[in-house]
Symmetry: C2
Subunit: 341 residues, 2 copies
């Protein structure tokens, strides 16, 4: 976000030695009162003039409520000046089969969704939510959608039902913008080993304007893709909105009803985000084996193979190489374009 | 540091709503056991393969001891592989007349200096240290030097005695590299309203090789210059050392005795750091009045002038505009060159 020009204030909700994908960590969570107190400090010092907020990983329900309260307060204050504050809610619950948060976090996200301007659930968040309703659980490929399933009560089996679920979400919760990251549903248009991102910005009468962007999956385990997607989406959404005359003062940056799905700033934003991600993931994957082999070589020289150490070194190798590939963040080449659902 | 290509792990020693220069803040310090525990977590996950460490603001003596212990451990481990770990110790005690830390932090810094590879005291840290010895206190202009005064026991009144103090430091504490930031001592070579930075890398027999870089002072109050100087020095020092064949595997990256003061990687590094700083400070100062007037205008419209609010808005206006001027960080134009003391 900084390398793309944003002045960012970080309110850490944890200070851990490493992310929980490693399976072990030290450090502490920041408590709900501490989060509230930090925001009060920002207000006291007139440092609360934010125009966007991204909420990400919050490991406990009370802390998530405190974070939500900050967003709701900033949203409320911005009512006088439409477009002056935009909340991107990434309902971080987990990734790649690991749940990061306590189970009681899920219903809190549910209660907060109607206050957000844009939500960004990933595939695992989808699958985990489906686990909450075991009887309805489908095979991995078919059961996706997070919150979506919880919120829309539409059974999602294909791109058409995914589209209906998005429509229900706009209608029921009045969420202006939705992006479902990493959708893997079979479709005649989708080549094998492809993924897609599906997004929509609703119209004034809450009709979905959905687009999808199909891109090749990379056969590699990565860590941090959800955070990268969310952070870039914040910046690119703002940029796309600022490039559209008058839109930055529209409520929730909602485009005129006449704007086609493929011309939405959200679609333009996600195209750029995916371009950056595809470049960084490709380069991270290319470097992964080399780095891992070097570290494993050292391990073996120093005496035997240690399963736990190998697992931890693999976790490190899976970290996205963001700093090294900053040019891909700043100036990505857009290859994958939004198409109609 | 990241925009210059460093993969950085931050171990926060506080989580405050804002820095203490605002005179008010909320949030908590991280305790000494928490700091130690976080480092243990990094070790447990094989995430402790650092080749440099920068220690900055640590508000309490026990926490500073914990931070120092991390550096000492990493230094000890690197003894087998000279040059594989380099500790930059910025003895952050305060700036511009404000003490940031508890008084008992000062002697802890004193005990840690002999373990560091490079220390970076600023002018206030100098003046504050001199306050500890009231009988010896001089006028502001003459009494500078931090730690230096404490450590060298040389009375610093001019550039010559400053040079002697650096010599004593190298000899007594075996600190390989020293940079004194923001020196303002009268000297025939120095124009009015100039400042200088004085640095030295010792030889194998602990002789100082001192250089100074004189640059114009900017008549503006800034916040964060010490942190910016320290962070950039870490990256630029590494870069300059890596550009010198063989030096990255020399103990403490100490240059051959034959290398002249003006050819030291430390001198090259500080030239680049000051170039970036001069550009960012100039641009921050240019924008400061405009931003402040706009915010003050809003204040007056909303009913009267409030001294406290004005003070807080001035603090915000004094924050360095780093993100906006990232090109000055990445590719500064070097204007001010190292000269002999």
């Amino acid at each position: 976000m900084q390398t793309l020009g944003c002045d960012v204030a970080a309110l850490n909700t944890v200070q851990f030695s490493n992310h929980t994908g490693y399976g072990q960590w030290t450090g502490n969570k920041v408590s709900a009162p501490e989060i509230t107190d930090l925001f009060q400090g920002l207000k006291n010092a007139y440092l609360d003039d934010f125009d966007m907020m991204l909420s990400g990983y919050v490991p406990g329900a009370e802390a998530l409520e405190a974070v939500g309260q900050i967003a709701v307060e900033l949203k409320g204050r911005a009512k006088k000046a439409p477009g002056s504050f935009f909340w991107v809610l990434d309902p971080v619950m987990g990734d790649n089969g690991n749940l990061y948060v306590a189970k009681d976090v899920v219903p809190v996200y549910r209660s907060l969704v109607s206050h957000a301007d844009l939500i960004l659930p990933n595939q695992f968040e989808a699958e985990y939510a489906s686990l909450l309703n075991p009887p309805e659980r489908e095979s991995n490929r078919q059961s996706l959608t997070p919150l979506l399933r919880l919120l829309s009560e539409v059974k999602i089996q294909d791109m058409a039902s995914l589209g209906r679920a998005i429509q229900v979400m706009h209608e029921r919760y009045c969420i202006p913008h939705i992006v479902i990251t990493s959708v893997s549903l079979n479709h005649p248009d989708h080549p094998d080993a492809s993924l897609s991102v599906v997004g929509s910005t609703m119209t004034s009468d809450r009709r979905a304007r959905a687009f999808k962007i199909v891109f090749p999956a990379i056969d590699c385990y990565f860590s941090g893709t959800g955070d990268m997607f969310a952070a870039l989406t914040v910046v690119r959404m703002r940029e796309a909105v600022w490039n559209t005359p008058g839109l930055s003062t529209a409520e929730s940056w909602r485009s005129d009803d006449a704007v086609d799905a493929l011309d939405l700033p959200l679609a333009k934003a996600v195209e750029k985000v995916l371009a950056s991600m595809h470049e960084v993931l490709t380069k991270t994957c290319e470097a992964m084996d080399i780095g891992l082999r070097r570290r494993l070589g050292e391990t073996q020289v120093n005496g035997g193979v240690d399963d736990k150490k190998i697992r931890l070194l693999k976790s490190k190798a899976a970290e996205l190489k963001l700093v090294r590939h900053v040019d891909s963040i700043r100036s990505p080449k857009v290859q994958f374009r939004a198409v109609r659902m």
